[in-house]
């Protein structure tokens, strides 16, 4: 029996707004427990929710990037459940009218391009952080109320690779749009997988298993590949798949049972009467889209127009902060190709060596661009530029200052160079004779002597040109 996997993903993205989804309580990470809460987050009686404008703008931007229909009437529902992770006793979410619906994105996998349908995108609030010990649980409500968007795909993925590529693309979109930092390992982007198997060609869905809270792209792929293999073995031997929730165990690289789902929970959704429907104007929606930060795909096209090859362009957009650094550097007017080489090469190797991100890199990209411009003008050689670059990292000084301090300014003054060239040729007349006799290497000797006399500071291209002119005059 040939089986195929049916995979759908639910992704929760924590937005990096300044305030919470329904309150002006601050959004901040890593602070002491319960220090970023206000009366709305703690559900004090009589408090009322207000909808965060930036969260709505963010949701519109992501919906647009995912080619979704955008609903211009914003409404919220209450998802009622008895649990300690939200003090109200319910979560405010968009159950009936998600702001984004019926979209898609295109992924590139080893077997080519594939379009993945996206059913819905809705806004909601995050729950509190719970720390479970063996006999008690500790609650920190700092996270309660942080704006979330939930993106629900259609069950159109068929492998771990496709699912990982899909999440990678979503992560790229939300980070380039400045909606989220997209850090899976820190929980800013959380992914739940629904997976079932069926006989290839069948229209019926098999029993689905949910895998919760996968915290890296690699783990998504591994968990799905394992689950496909686990379910295949059960079905091949005539067994039944149980409807259950599982988690991925990093140590054993296997999914393990969390709980069996006996019956579906009824959350008794109803429209939140504390939030009157909000009508978004056409101008508001268009403005949110028009002022949206540039997406990775658009940057890729722009870089290709700057004559960067596909490989270099892809490396630059693989990290939003790297692409921002590169774009800033371009403002210096230096060559895009040279800048890309420096960013991908020297800068990246320093970051790798030090284990830091480009945001922590001590040389600002405009200064790097200026250094590259000086190389282009021939004021410093490539080798000298690397020495200057090393000093820029150490001292945080600008390129021009360091070039002066290090005595590296190239001699590009023609009169000064001609004087030195004449002196060198006068004492080496045989080289002129040799060159004129066809020994091209003789010119190298003269260039070497000129470099020696100028302590390596002569502009090599200019020196070469002037030497040839002087020889022709003799």
């Amino acid at each position: 029996m040939e089986l195929e996997a049916i995979i759908g993903l639910e992704i929760h993205v924590e937005m990096k707004t300044k305030s919470k989804m329904f309150s002006s309580g601050p959004v901040s990470f890593g602070d002491d427990p319960n220090t970023n809460v206000n009366i709305v987050d703690m559900a004090f009686p009589g408090t009322l929710p207000t909808v965060n404008k930036q969260a709505v703008i963010n949701a519109i931007r992501v919906s647009h990037a995912l080619n979704m229909k955008i609903c211009d009437l914003v409404t919220f529902e209450r998802k009622n459940y008895f649990y300690s992770d939200l003090p109200k006793g319910y979560q405010i979410t968009q159950q009936f009218h998600p702001i984004g619906s019926d979209g898609y994105l295109t992924i590139k996998t080893s077997s080519g391009e594939k379009k993945i349908g996206i059913e819905r995108l809705h806004m909601e609030e995050d729950t509190c952080k719970q720390l479970h010990s063996w006999d008690f649980s500790l609650l920190d409500y700092n996270r309660a109320g942080i704006p979330l968007i939930e993106i629900v795909s259609r069950p159109e993925m068929r492998s771990g690779e496709e699912a990982a590529k899909y999440v990678e693309k979503i992560r790229s979109i939300v980070t380039f749009l400045d909606v989220s930092d997209g850090k899976m390992e820190e929980g800013s982007l959380r992914c739940d997988v629904n997976i079932s198997l069926r006989e290839k060609g069948s229209n019926k869905f098999g029993t689905k298993v949910e895998i919760k809270n996968l915290n890296s792209l690699a783990n998504i792929q591994k968990a799905i590949d394992f689950e496909i293999s686990r379910q295949s073995i059960i079905l091949e031997f005539g067994g039944q798949i149980e409807q259950e929730t599982r988690r991925f165990d990093e140590g054993s690289k296997e999914t393990v049972l969390m709980r069996v789902k006996n019956d579906a929970v009824d959350y008794k959704y109803f429209t939140d009467p504390n939030i009157a429907p909000i009508q978004l104007s056409k101008e508001f929606i268009l403005d949110a889209i028009r002022t949206s930060p540039e997406l990775a795909e658009s940057k890729l096209l722009r870089y290709r127009e700057l004559d960067l090859n596909e490989y270099d362009s892809s490396l630059l957009i693989s990290d939003k902060d790297v692409s921002v650094y590169f774009d800033e550097g371009l403002k210096s007017g230096c060559s895009a190709k040279l800048l890309a080489n420096w960013v991908i090469g020297d800068v990246q190797s320093y970051l790798n060596k030090e284990g830091i991100s480009i945001k922590e890199f001590p040389v600002c990209s405009l200064e790097l661009g200026k250094l590259i411009s000086l190389v282009e003008k021939g004021d410093v050689s490539n080798k000298q530029a690397r020495d200057v670059f090393a000093e820029m990292i150490k001292t945080h000084k600008d390129a021009s200052t360091l070039i002066k301090e290090m005595g590296l300014s190239q001699v590009s003054d023609e009169n000064a160079l001609i004087g030195i060239i004449k002196e060198v040729i006068d004492v080496n007349p045989q080289s002129v004779v040799d060159y004129k006799a066809g020994k091209d290497r003789a010119i190298g000797f003269i260039v070497g002597q000129v470099m020696k006399k100028t302590q390596g500071k002569a502009n090599p291209a200019l020196a070469n040109k002037l030497i040839l002119e002087e020889i022709s005059r003799r």
Partner: protein, 98 residues
């Protein structure tokens, strides 16, 4: 509508992880009798099934969205004043996952 009897109340209470005395269940059942008879009265109104459930008293929309500006949070002691058990600034409960 499902009949609300003692068994339904016990099941619901246990799903919510609590129990009540027989007297409390009987009191609650008596209250439900009143509520259900009143609902039946409403149910007798002609055409009530066609009425659209109403959330808001008026069919109006709003345009207000709050600017994304954070205001100072509550003092932590004040925020946790009603909590019975606080450890290291966190509310402590009996373990809430099985």
């Amino acid at each position: 509508m499902k009949e609300v009897n003692k068994e339904v109340l016990v099941t619901s209470a246990n799903k919510l992880m609590f129990d009540m005395s027989d007297e409390e269940y009987n009191n609650l059942l008596a209250e439900f009798d009143v509520i259900i008879s009143q609902m039946n009265l409403i149910g007798d109104i002609e055409g009530v099934d066609e009425a659209i459930p109403m959330t808001f008293p008026f069919d109006v929309t709003n345009t207000y969205l709050r600017e994304d500006v954070a205001t100072p949070p509550m003092d932590r002691n004040e925020a946790l004043r009603n909590a019975k058990d606080v450890v290291d600034g966190q509310i402590r409960l009996p373990r809430v996952v099985k």
